[in-house]
């Protein structure tokens, strides 16, 4: 009995700890609750679209018109109105103050018109001043975020007023706008484009729950995949070494004096930021720390010693750093190219590659300049997973519309339209029907945060 009592206390404490942990985990996972109604497939099937087809678009460069819209937004004096727009974005549809929202939207009618004009153009060339390198300024991006919020608000307001055709047109504009923003050659374009598209997906979820809302199953299916392709930007930043001083991209082909090489290394300050001690970026110090390893590296690669002796010291160091970058960039890129379900482990390993680069003198620029590739890819796939999740919900609406029954007990019961797989895993979503409520979910990815979790709770209302 004496032995049993402490054991029981320990077991009780352990059970309490487990329960607390589970509760915290459940609390942290973001859940989206959807109350949807049955809906038949539209006739004709592609009656609704969320992305304009190419032939519907106007010729011309979207960027010029979108930049005009950005200037119009900047010139708008009512900052408070934009703050309200941001606040209303997170508010349930039925709680929106209709009159005030309409008033604010009318203030920005010109901006919205120009966003539409730009979004429906055929192509988008941002023509960023890439020669500025990492010092490049991108003032427009903040304006595009506000434009996206305005568009989403407009769509939600149209849903509230049962103007579903209008809402779908606004969402179509929003998705086209997102894909144009993502068309820049740099990673941040893709990230902002992806975030804009996410706002449009939020509003799409609102539309799916509206009374008598049409089925968006095929409209969601017709969205380009990936909607935001980060491949070009990743290649530009990694293989193209876009933000390196140009002399360091092909250092063996540069014929510079030692003094000029020192200038190149000083210009690295533009990349890695300002230090607290003036003049602390000393090319001499870099040479002292790195040259021995750099020389050994090039000798091992088969460079004749006399050739190395003839080279400026900092040129040898530059080749060493460039090789260190390329080795690790390729190690990361090869996993970027692989399908995500197969690449997850490799993408996780990129973080280790970057961490290990810290210990190697040839890798110190890697840790500073390489984007968090694993996170970028996760962003992309998380968005694809949301589209797939909403398609699955729409498949349930179609199923309910066709069969007249409620939500399916198992996803396999849905036969009218294909139920999408979870693109992150390449396997079906987890599904459970409990007390008339369906739970569609995906396991939390190892690289994900609680807010990255995927869990939809679906209720069918008549």
């Amino acid at each position: 009995m004496r032995k049993a009592t402490p054991m029981a206390v320990l077991a009780f404490l352990a059970a309490c700890l487990c329960a607390t942990a589970t509760a915290q985990e459940q609390e942290q996972v973001a859940v989206r609750r959807l109350a949807v109604r049955p809906a038949a497939e539209p006739v004709p099937a592609m009656r609704y679209r969320l992305m304009p087809t190419f032939h519907e678009r106007e010729p011309g460069n979207a960027a010029t018109v979108l930049k005009t819209a950005a200037l119009m937004l900047v010139e708008h004096r009512d900052k408070e109105a934009l703050d309200k727009v941001a606040k209303w974005g997170g508010m349930p549809l039925e709680q929106l103050p209709r009159e005030e929202v309409q008033s604010v939207l009318s203030q920005f009618a010109d901006v919205l018109r120009y966003v539409e004009l730009g979004a429906w153009r055929e192509r988008c060339d941002w023509d960023w001043p890439l020669q500025e390198g990492a010092a490049m300024l991108l003032p427009d991006l903040a304006a595009y975020r506000n434009m996206a919020r305005l568009l989403a608000l407009k769509a939600r307001m149209q849903i509230l007023e049962h103007d579903y055709d209008g809402a779908i047109h606004t969402l179509e504009t929003g998705f086209a706008f997102a894909s144009h923003v993502a068309e820049g050659r740099i990673l941040i374009n893709g990230l902002v484009g992806s975030a804009i598209a996410s706002l449009m997906l939020d509003a799409t979820g609102d539309l799916m729950q509206a009374p008598d809302a049409p089925s968006l199953y095929w409209a969601l299916t017709a969205l380009p995949r990936p909607l935001v392709d980060l491949r070009q930007a990743i290649e530009f930043e990694l293989t193209g070494m876009a933000f390196w001083p140009k002399e360091l991209r092909k250092p063996e082909q540069m014929y510079l004096s030692p003094r000029q090489w020192a200038e190149v290394f000083r210009s690295l300050g533009n990349l890695v930021g300002e230090g607290s001690r003036s003049g602390s970026l000393s090319p001499t110090a870099i040479a002292l720390v790195t040259y021995t390893d750099a020389k050994r590296h090039l000798l091992e690669k088969g460079r004749p010693p006399e050739e190395l002796e003839a080279m400026p010291v900092l040129q040898v160091v530059a080749i060493y750093l460039r090789d260190g970058w390329r080795l690790r960039a390729d190690e990361a890129l090869k996993w970027w190219y692989a399908p995500y379900p197969q690449a997850r482990a490799g993408l996780d390993a990129i973080e280790r590659v970057v961490a290990e680069a810290r210990k190697d003198k040839s890798g110190w620029l890697v840790a500073l300049l390489m984007p968090a590739l694993q996170r970028a890819r996760f962003h992309q796939m998380r968005f694809e997973r949301r589209i797939a999740g909403l398609r699955a919900v729409e498949a349930m609406r179609v199923h309910a519309g066709v069969t007249g029954a409620g939500l399916p007990a198992r996803l396999e019961e849905i036969e009218r339209v294909p139920v999408p797989l979870n693109p992150m895993r390449g396997e079906p979503f987890e599904y459970e029907l409990r007390d008339g409520r369906a739970v569609l979910s995906a396991p939390l990815e190892p690289d994900g945060r609680p807010e990255d979790a995927f869990r939809y709770e679906i209720e069918l209302v008549r």
Binding site: V74, E75, A86, L281
Partner: protein
């Protein structure tokens, strides 16, 4: 049809010209020469002083102008001015100095890289806000525009574009 009509018109003109006959000149040569001499004699006396004054004035102006144009330029001076290099920045080298340690990412870095990594970590909300007043007044200068976007003009320090600068609570 059209050509025949023209030809008929030409013939009419030809016939009209053919009807013209030479006539004796109506000018008396002797009288003309007399009157010309008379006019020349009366005009010269009145114009001469005026012409003289005019010529003198033009000559003096031309002389003054030539003198002014031909005067020597201000003596050339060579001044040495120290020009600050505009974009080169310095960086904390310390992290790579000891045992291959690398600089931490917390070191302030170039604008794009800083913004990119923040957006990757925090999403679109990491973008800076549109500024305190939502924008420059209509017709404002480009400097107003930069300021309201939270970006200093290019000749100022670029670090003010760091997303933390000027980001509102909402964003």
């Amino acid at each position: 049809m059209h050509g025949a009509h023209n030809e008929e018109e030409l013939r009419d003109v030809e016939r009209s010209l053919a009807r013209l006959r030479p006539a004796a000149a109506g000018i008396d040569r002797d009288e003309l020469m007399f009157r010309a001499g008379q006019a020349a004699a009366t005009g010269r006396a009145g114009l001469a002083p005026g012409v003289a004054v005019l010529v003198a004035l033009v000559a003096s102006l031309a002389g003054a102008g030539t003198t002014w144009l031909a005067r020597p330029a201000a003596p050339e001076r060579i001044v040495q001015v120290t020009v600050e290099k505009p974009v080169l920045r310095v960086v904390e080298l310390a992290p790579i100095m000891p045992a291959g340690e690398r600089p931490e990412r917390s070191v302030a870095r170039a604008d794009y890289l800083e913004l990119r990594d923040r957006v990757l970590a925090e999403g679109m909300d990491a973008l800076p806000s549109l500024g305190s007043a939502g924008g420059a007044a209509p017709g404002g200068t480009i400097d107003d525009l930069w300021r309201d976007l939270g970006i200093p003009p290019r000749h100022r320090a670029r670090k003010a574009w760091a997303p933390s600068a000027g980001r509102s609570a909402q964003s």
